[in-house]
Symmetry: C2
Subunit: 198 residues, 2 copies
């Protein structure tokens, strides 16, 4: 329907995360019905973002400036680096607005099965940042997966000789989460890390 141009647009929209063939058709139709007010601005925004946005050469964040706005911000605490797997994790932490230090984006996790070694990740630049001095704490905000834990372990080993405090995020019950839908690993971690009630 609509000719090859429409089919191609639907095909590309359907590949976006969270979209499928059905929602891609609806989105394409909405765009086609408002070419001036919806389609053209989206095309322009995509082009501009593709042209402007680059990886930050310090931390690996994506931004239209390099160093990124976080690395360039004089008000951020430069003595604390929060290590994350991906930019989406960095964005999630920024939305929470609790970390006032810097970040380092690894671009994934070490994975023996997946054949991902230290040189496939943005790991050595992190060691170089810490070796350059001025860093007091490294917070490992990696996923609570096998590969995330292995990566945290590898990093802890490498960071220990550099005289830096290495911490990790707490495990526990999510705020607003019901207990009966949580997996046993989370429940066990939450119980072990129990704290005095206030």
């Amino acid at each position: 329907m609509g000719g090859p141009e429409v089919e191609r647009l639907i095909g590309l929209l359907a590949k976006l995360p969270g979209m499928g063939p059905r929602s891609a058709r609806r989105a394409a139709l909405r765009l086609l019905q408002e070419p001036e007010t919806r389609m053209a601005p989206l095309a322009a925004a995509l082009e501009e973002a593709a042209r402007m946005v680059r990886r930050c050469s310090l931390c690996g964040n994506l931004d239209s400036q390099d160093p990124c706005a976080i690395c360039a911000d004089p008000h951020r605490d430069r003595s604390t680096i929060c290590v994350v797997e991906g930019v989406s994790d960095l964005w999630a932490l920024e939305r929470a607005g609790v970390h006032r230090g810097l970040y380092h984006v690894l671009g994934g996790t070490l994975s023996a099965l997946g054949g991902v070694g230290p040189d496939d990740l943005n790991l050595r630049p992190l060691l170089a940042r810490i070796e350059a001095g001025g860093v007091a704490e490294v917070i490992l905000a990696l996923g609570a997966t096998v590969d995330g834990a292995a990566t945290a372990h590898w990093l802890s080993d490498r960071l220990r000789p550099l005289r830096v405090v290495v911490t990790r995020l707490a495990h526990g019950v999510p705020i607003g989460g019901a207990l009966d839908v949580l997996d046993e690993g989370t429940l066990a971690a939450a119980l072990r890390a129990r704290r005095p009630a206030q």
Copy 2:
């Protein structure tokens, strides 16, 4: 995060049907991480579709050719016109592959409350198509809503003097649908229209 270009892209993606702020962020990030293979093709597809796709001057379908591929297809049955509210309904019927005739897209329904009258819709061109002759049946494939029913009623009145058979889609239980989740109106319609079991 990511600068104004990224924020603008996320804002535009979030307005697509089926997307929200969270999925728009994920989609933007995926696009940003693959600017060459994902972002540029999507921008190009949007621009090409905006440039090429127009409303069919006969039926109101969206296509990169005018008349649209359906109106131009010599193998379609030109004596049957299926009247739909929107292009998405036309696409849905085409995917089902059961209608071999032509279409007419109204672009909405009459609505007393919404202030939508006959001249706000693609209604009079439909009457003109039928008055031009050669049409034996008009299938009203309008939504089973108050406004859809009112529009079907208005059209039936106008079409009767033109000596054309006017039909509507059957109501009933959707294929694969469970009875206990259906509303009472659908159940009543399905019961009234019951047919001999095979």
